[in-house]
Amino acid sequence: MLDVAINHAVVIDTENNVEKEVNIGIKAGKIAVLTTEDLVGARIIEAKNLIASPGFIDVHGHVDGYAYSGELSACQGITTTIGGNCGLSPVNIAGFFARQAQHGFVINQAELIGHSFSLRQAVGISDPYRQATPKEFTEMESLARRALEAGACGLSFGLDYSPGASFDEIKTLAKVCAEFDRVMPIHTRLFTQNDLYSLFEVLAVAKRTGVRLLISHFVYQYGTGIMEEALQIIDQAIDGGIDVKIDSGMYTDWTTFIGTATFDEQTIADNEIRFSDMIVASGPYTGERLNRNLYLEMRKNSPNESVICFMGNKAEIYTALKKNYAMPSTDIGTYKKGEGHPQIAGSFPKYFKEMVKERGDFSLVEAVRKATLLPAQTFGFENKGVIKIGSDADVTLFDFEQLADKAQFPDRGRPDAKPTGIVYVLVNGIPVIDQGCFTGAKAGQVIKLL
């Protein structure tokens, strides 16, 4: 007897880029049967009028084992999240995996080892503007190696958060990442809003080390009127044989911790950002617009609260995501209920709604491929991103007509308002969203690359 039978859905075949009307049978967490015959199982899901997609894979998140972020991810149809981005991760990856496996988690988690906050801090660098010493290089290198041996899926950088990191520092760690043939997601560092050398420096690292690059939340980095030029640089690099991809969310307004170098007064002044363009995303001042006093107070007393910065050119989101090497992502952080940025709850539904339904930038099949198979191939998750016999039973069933984001910026509404149209989400064959409701099942597994 099958554990789950899903009948009458339109299944997206991401490998062949087609839609198929087949029924899906699931057994022991794997896709066991694909047939046009009606199936019977311990649980039968009648999925007429629903699309069955491989579960979405979020290549840029900061879930890192935080339960509510897992829930918000699942509610968007995400079945696998990649944590530890922007250089912020657990340093002991083996320990992290062991804890997650022991306590269980709603969705699958792969984890990166992070440089810019975590490795730097671990070797005793507290000043983000300081270059690491050769001894610290070696220490970071050995910690990174240990994490990759423990199954971390790559090595992440948040260079904006460690402006002092030298080319050699990045290169040394990139070599280790390349040795393991893992992905290196980089949140690039822009010293001015139009600093395209931020791209050349990471491309130079890739050229020198052969590391595979993923440039993080590309719109947050280059969605300020220089998108076409930035994408040309990526196109040129790909033509030149560099393995580079990008990811992007559906917003131009980014958020990070108020205490980081990104919010240093100098950076704010350089980029002509006004306090009135910023909204507090977490903590007691959530939803309040910043002013100088609040800025100073938060920098001093609550550096780990998040602030959203409103900027950028919305059209450039679509320009970026239209590239065949671009993947949608959330940049989800860890927030209490009612706090955060709408990206934590709205990103994937918004991506399908705007780019497929409203704008027709690409077909539904292509949109699904970019959200599933492309990330799986990029990171080397062998049994994910596809619905075929033997693959992991991560399946998202959604009502395309109803699919919509509801999350709002915290000055206007709930940033964690759940989307509509995501009807079932199965993680390893277990429903974590059932008829639109979150079940709380801890169905996820840790993904160790070994």
Binding site: F191, D195, Y197, F200, K207, Q236, I242
Partner: protein, 290 residues
């Protein structure tokens, strides 16, 4: 290991910055120093007088194509012994120069080029008229140890010089970055008097003058430095003295450049004096130019 001093030359385009820098590089090389001159003008013209027919390949433009470059491959040794490097520029309208100079400077260090060539001085001839963040970044991040702001008595050059000084002062925060003002065509009445008064008003401690010499103009037209074309001339001697003066500049405090309102007042007063002069009146204040 000896310390390599980096001096940058700034100022409005077209006032002779590259000619001056090239001649100073030549003068320093003549004094036995190992000098590298770096230009970042799109026309690759900063080092033209030094390298003559030798073709420069723009290093930053190549870097943007190849990602990995050996910086030494782009350095040309001129007949006078000055090392020349042209960075090239951005695609017009694309991005920001911001970190181009950092990237090159990091390569010069990490690839061992500075050590190999035994460089005593790196003279950066930086083109660009607007001291935006990107322009000022090399000063802010202490890539440069000294700045020479070149101007003449024309209003646009003077306004640009004041803005550049303001940019450097702002970027230097609490550090002291020695700045010298170099007045080109200082013999044109009443440049010397005006710029001396300006330097005094903003508490700028170092000011140097370079008069017009026909030999400089002729050597430039001949594609050479005056030190190569007319080594015995008084113009060449002037550059030798200037080179010694400028590499030794030390100041005790940062200047306080004019704010917009003061700047307007200065310009107004200058115009009045120029009008008086054109009408045949020479003020006592301007007597230093006579």
């Amino acid at each position: 290991m000896k310390e390599t001093k980096r001096i940058c030359f700034l100022g409005k385009g077209g006032i002779g910055k590259s000619v001056i820098t090239a001649n100073l590089s030549a003068a320093l090389a003549e004094q036995g120093y190992n000098v590298l001159q770096i230009g970042n003008d799109i026309s690759l013209s900063s080092t033209l007088l030094l390298r003559g027919e030798l073709e420069a390949i723009p290093a930053l433009e190549e870097y943007r194509k190849k990602y990995i470059i050996k910086i030494e491959d782009y350095i040309i040794k001129s007949p006078l012994g000055v090392y020349c490097l042209e960075l090239g520029s951005l695609e017009p309208g694309v991005g920001c120069m911001a970190r181009g100079i950092h990237i090159i400077d990091e390569m010069l260090t990490s690839q061992g080029t500075i050590e190999k060539l035994g460089l005593d001085y790196i003279l950066y001839d930086i083109s660009g008229d607007i001291p935006c963040t990107g322009f000022i970044l090399p000063m802010r991040d202490s890539v440069m140890q000294k700045c020479v702001v070149v101007t003449d008595r024309s209003v646009p050059a003077f306004v640009t010089a004041n803005s550049m000084i303001a940019g450097i002062v702002r970027a230097s925060k609490n550090k002291i970055v020695p700045i010298a003002l170099l007045a080109n065509y200082a013999d044109v009445y009443p440049a010397k008097a005006q710029l001396t008064a300006y330097a005094k008003a903003i508490h700028l401690e170092e000011i140097a003058f370079l008069d017009y010499y026909q030999k400089i103009e002729h050597s430039e037209l001949a594609g050479k430095t005056v030190l190569a074309a007319y080594p015995e001339s008084s113009a060449a001697e002037t550059f030798r003295q200037l080179a010694t003066k400028l590499v030794e500049i030390k100041v005790s405090a940062m200047p306080q450049p004019l704010a917009r309102k003061e700047l307007s007042q200065w310009l107004g007063a200058w115009k009045k004096r120029s009008l008086a002069q054109k009408s045949g009146i020479i003020g006592v204040d301007d007597s230093s130019n006579i």
